[in-house]
Amino acid sequence: METRSAKKKRLLKTENETETGEDWISDLPDAVLHHILFLLPNKSIAQTSVLSKRWRSIWSSFPDLDFTTTTNSVGHFSSTIIKYSSTRKRVHSPLAQGMDFIIPVLALRDKNSDLRILRFCAQLSFSRLNSLIRCAVRRNVQELDIEVATDDYFNLPRCVTTCESLRVFKLKSRYPGFRLPPLSIMKSGFQSLHTLSLSLVILYQQSSLVDLFTASSFPLLKKLSLDACFGLKNLKVGCRGLEDLTLENCFQLNDLNILGGKLEKLHVASCFDAYSSNSLVKIEAPRLKIIRWEYNAITESSCLENLNSLHEASVGFFVLHDDITVAKRWSISNFLTGLSHVESLTLESQCVEILSKNKHFASVLNPFNKLKTLELCTGFNKHNIPALACLFRSSSNLHTLIIKIANDYKIERRQWNRELWDLSNSGEERYWDLQTQALKFFLHNLKVVKIQGFSECENDISLAKFLLKHGKVLEEMIICPGHYNSRDTHRRERIKSQMMEFSRASSNAKIAFQ
């Protein structure tokens, strides 16, 4: 092989009698050259246009224009916005230069070649944004990814909704936001859209999006993301093909209704109006695999139905007051009941806290029969212990238990000391020992325990001691110590060695300190 190519090279050289190579790159087909250029940063691509006439035409028909690699970094961007919004005057910024780059590039393009991707991040006037979008739509753009800051609120250009080639549409306003066209226009448009992502939408005039994402509109939509929709109160999502839904920072949301036959992933964060007295959430998604529920205000009622394929769930709430109304307590227990088919569950610390402060849950918590992995984030104070015991009781088939302890220094936790060790039965230990019968199934299945943020106080050690003493099939206990000051090293070592001597129900249980 080597010899052949070497021979060919020699022959070529003698034929041409030149030292430099032939212009082999320019002979490649357009599609291949576009492929090569696609792998370069936009600025280098533009530079190649001056190489020769051939390269100029390659550049002017290049379909993937990504100006985010040439314009400024996001850090630059946000600092400019602050300057911009405070002075309300056009400041000469790198951003403005970025715009000066985009417009001539589009103007110089080959009029007959289509655009595939247009992606930019800029600060510009609405009329300029509008003409950029119109220009892209005229060239049958397939992916439009825009991040802008404008002088004033603007309306989403209507030409986008009717664009037939558009597959991906992402519009993010940094400042001050944009409005949607009338719903009747939105509904009939976007016929070939796969992905829709909108950020900072002003919806005070149309606070109810109940009949926008219906089964008939958005026929091909797979991925939907709504972020910072101000004024959005009612949302109903029922698109037939939707697989992935993200909803973030909709603080006024009151009524959420999701009906997704193909929905697999749901992420809702920082949504719902905490002061509302009739908020509600209803989810029905038989194929849902992953649900992430973070920092959401507790709704007055919740109804999760048919979540039979659920694999992974993570639940956290935003709590305004410590005392939670009866309706909200029922809402939380309905929510958790809806998750009863889950295999891997994470409860954030606010959620564990709610369970701890309301005795009500001990009696109504549904069993999680399929649960294999449970992760709990908690401050692990004395009042949390009954809630933990209650959770353990409902997860009788658990395989892996992960406890993440966040140490709150304001609350004094009782230190483990020599005397307690000698007395052998502290209050916490006695409490756990009394639970042995109720936790029989749990203790017969638990194999792996991981405690993060472990400190040398009574609660932590008595739990570890209890699990070691009664965990019949325990294989591994991993202990990752939390923050400590170096003075304690000696004490820590002593407790470590004490822990190694705790009695174990399972002969092959290992303890590992990390």
Binding site: E22, P29, S49, S52
Partner: protein
């Protein structure tokens, strides 16, 4: 497929008449060949015009490696790719045309990546001399300065 060949083997014939016996799974990494096989318009020997034996052997080597190591670590494959595409310019040209014409996506990706690496960060003069076969004096005497930032208005 009524020859004495083992099952799932195909014969590829290069433009200069050399024949290669390859497993079908390897051959169908080329979309063009895959289409021929699926449409059953392929007899036991598939001609591969415009690709000589030398280049065809390289393409087959690449495809075999990728077929075998599907389960292997991706990093191993990456180093193999970068070594594989590190070749002289005319071999590169032939490989790219072969990969493009026969539609072998993985190979085309790796090759284009390599060319992009070669171009990346180089000045216009450098590219002209190294790849486009310009002579130094041509560059010195040319007035090729074409300003992309011309003041044409948008639309």
């Amino acid at each position: 497929m009524s020859s004495s060949l083992e099952k799932n083997m195909l014969i590829l014939r290069s433009s200069d008449g050399e024949e290669f016996i390859v497993p079908e799974v390897v051959a169908v990494m080329s979309k063009a060949i895959k289409n021929m096989v699926e449409d059953e318009c392929a007899s036991n020997t598939i001609p591969v015009p415009n690709v000589d034996a030398n280049i065809l052997a390289m393409v087959i080597e690449f495809c075999k490696k990728h077929d075998e190591s599907e389960a292997e670590a991706a990093s191993d494959l990456k180093t193999f790719d970068s070594e594989f595409v590190n070749r002289g310019q005319e071999a590169l040209y032939d490989l790219i045309t072969a990969a493009n014409f026969r539609d072998v996506k993985e190979l085309l990706d790796a090759l284009c990546q390599n060319v992009a690496e070669m171009i990346k960060g180089k000045s216009v003069h450098h590219i002209r001399i190294q790849f486009l076969g310009y002579q130094l004096f041509e560059i010195l005497t040319s007035n090729f300065i074409w300003n992309i930032w011309c003041d044409r208005d948008f639309d």
